[in-house]
C-alpha cells in the first residue's frame, strides 16, 4: 500500500506502518500530511497505534466493494453538507463561472486524453483498451459532425458566452490546474494502470446523477437550467452531455477497475492513489472558480 499524500510504499495492508509514517510526518509538522489527517481522519492528535486503527477503518471497503468505497469518499469530499464551492456556484451558474470552467477545463481534457492513452499503453486487457478508446472518442475525438466531442462542446459553450476559442486555447492554466495536471500525469505514467484508471475515471463521478441516491446533497448543477432560458443553448448542450450519459456506462470504468484491482492485488494502492487524485481535483475545481473571477468584472 501507499501513502495517500506522498506515495511512499508499504507492505500490503500494513496500516501499522502507514500510521507510524503519518505520525512521524505530523511530529515534524509536514503541511501536506498534517492537512491530510485534518481533512480525512481527525484533527485531534492520537498516538501512532490509534492512528493505525483509524487508517484501517478509513480504508475498509465495506459491503459495496471498491466501487462503493470510491463513491463514498467522493461524496464526502465534494457532495457533503458543504458541497465544493464550484458545485455550489454551478447550481445557478454565472457567465464567469462557466467561462472559468471553459478556460481551465480545456487543459484538463487535453490531460485526460494523455491519461487514458497511458492506461491503454500500459494494460494488456482488451476490455480496458476498448473502454479507453471509446472514452477518448467521446471526450476528444467526437464521432462526426452530429456527435461533437465533449472538448468541442466545451469550446462552443465558451463561444456562446463571447469568448473566442483562440483566446481559450492561448491561455495557460492557473497554477492549481497545472499542479493537478502534473499529479495525474505522474500517476498515469508511473503507477499501476489500475490505479490510474480509478484516479481518472473516479473523477467522472462529479457529474453522475446517481450520487443523489447515494447520499450526495445536490446534483452537479440544477437540472432545471436545461429547460429554461437561463443559460445559452451551447451551455445546455455541454452540460446535458454529462447529465444524460447512460448511467450504467458511467460506472463501467469503476467496475472494470475493481475487477482487475482484486485480481492483481492492488486494491489498497488504488485507494491511496484515488485519494491523491481527488485532492488534486479539489484544487483544480477551485482554479475554475478563481479563473471565473476574471470574467465577473469584465
Amino acid at each position: 500500500m501507499k501513502c495517500p499524500t506522498c506515495g511512499t510504499g508499504f507492505d500490503s495492508n500494513d496500516f501499522d506502518a502507514l500510521g507510524k509514517h503519518f505520525y512521524a510526518e505530523a511530529l515534524r509538522s509536514d503541511g501536506r500530511h498534517v492537512m491530510w489527517l485534518n481533512r480525512n481522519i481527525t484533527k485531534n492528535k492520537t498516538d501512532a497505534t490509534a492512528l493505525s486503527g483509524l487508517f484501517e477503518r478509513f480504508f475498509a471497503l465495506g459491503s459495496g466493494g471498491l466501487q462503493g468505497w470510491v463513491k463514498r469518499r467522493f461524496i464526502e469530499k465534494f457532495y457533503g453538507p458543504r458541497p465544493h464551492p464550484f458545485v455550489s456556484a454551478l447550481q445557478n451558474p454565472s457567465r464567469g463561472t462557466l467561462l472559468g470552467y471553459v478556460v481551465e477545463h480545456q487543459h484538463f481534457l487535453r490531460q485526460w486524453v494523455r491519461s487514458c492513452s497511458f492506461i491503454m499503453a500500459r494494460t494488456d486487457e482488451t476490455e480496458v483498451v476498448m473502454y479507453e478508446l471509446d472514452n477518448i472518442n467521446t471526450e476528444f475525438g467526437g464521432a462526426g459532425p452530429d456527435r461533437p466531442s465533449h472538448y468541442e462542446l466545451l469550446l462552443r459553450m465558451g463561444e456562446s458566452l463571447g469568448l473566442d476559442r483562440t483566446k481559450v486555447l492561448a491561455t495557460p492554466p492557473l497554477p492549481d490546474t497545472k499542479d493537478a495536471i502534473r499529479v495525474w500525469d505522474d500517476i498515469c505514467q508511473d503507477y499501476h494502470w489500475v490505479e490510474a484508471m480509478v484516479a481518472m475515471h473516479g473523477l467522472e463521478l462529479i457529474a453522475n446523477r446517481n450520487l443523489r441516491k447515494e447520499g450526495a446533497s445536490v446534483h452537479y448543477f440544477d437540472p432545471e437550467i436545461l429547460k429554461t432560458g437561463q443559460v445559452t443553448d451551447a451551455t445546455k448542450a455541454f452540460l446535458r452531455e454529462g447529465y444524460e450519459a447512460d448511467v450504467g456506462h458511467s460506472e463501467e470504468a469503476l467496475d472494470l477497475a475493481a475487477k482487475f484491482a482484486g485480481r492483481l492485488g492492488v486494491v489498497d494502492d488504488v485507494q491511496a492513489t484515488f485519494m491523491r487524485s481527488i485532492d488534486a481535483f479539489d484544487n483544480y475545481l477551485m482554479a475554475r472558480l478563481e479563473r471565473g473571477k476574471q470574467f465577473e468584472t469584465a
Binding site: 509538522s29 498534517v34 458543504r82 497554477p175 478563481e290
Partner: protein
C-alpha cells in the same frame, strides 16, 4: 490576541508542532501553511480597518473558505476569506455588519 483553547491558532487541529511569533505572541500551528494563512488574515484585517491590534479572530468554515469576525474592543470586522493551496489569499470579501 485571544486564541482557541487548544490546537492550531487557525484550524484548531492538535497535530504538528509548529510555532511562530505573530504580533509579538508565540503561537502554535499544526503546520506552516496554517501559520501563513493566519499571518495573512492579520495583515489583511489591519490593512482594511487601520486597527493597531486585534483582540480575537473568530472563524467558521473549512479549508475551502472561512467566515471570520475580527474583534477589537467593541468593534467588529466581518469578512470571508479563501486561500490557495500554498496559504496565500485567493478571495477576500468584506461582509457589512448590520448595526
Amino acid at each position: 490576541m485571544r486564541l482557541p483553547e487548544k490546537g492550531c491558532a487557525l484550524c484548531e487541529a492538535t497535530w504538528g508542532d509548529y510555532w511562530e511569533e505573530v504580533e509579538g505572541q508565540r503561537m502554535f500551528f499544526c503546520c506552516d501553511i496554517c501559520a501563513t494563512e493566519f499571518k495573512n488574515i492579520v495583515r489583511e484585517v489591519k490593512a482594511h480597518t487601520g486597527w493597531k491590534n486585534i483582540d480575537e479572530i473568530r472563524m467558521t468554515g473549512d479549508y475551502r473558505g472561512r467566515d471570520c469576525s475580527a474583534l477589537n474592543a467593541d468593534r467588529k470586522y466581518t469578512f470571508f476569506i479563501r486561500f490557495d493551496s500554498k496559504g496565500e489569499i485567493q478571495t477576500f470579501k468584506e461582509v457589512p455588519t448590520p448595526r
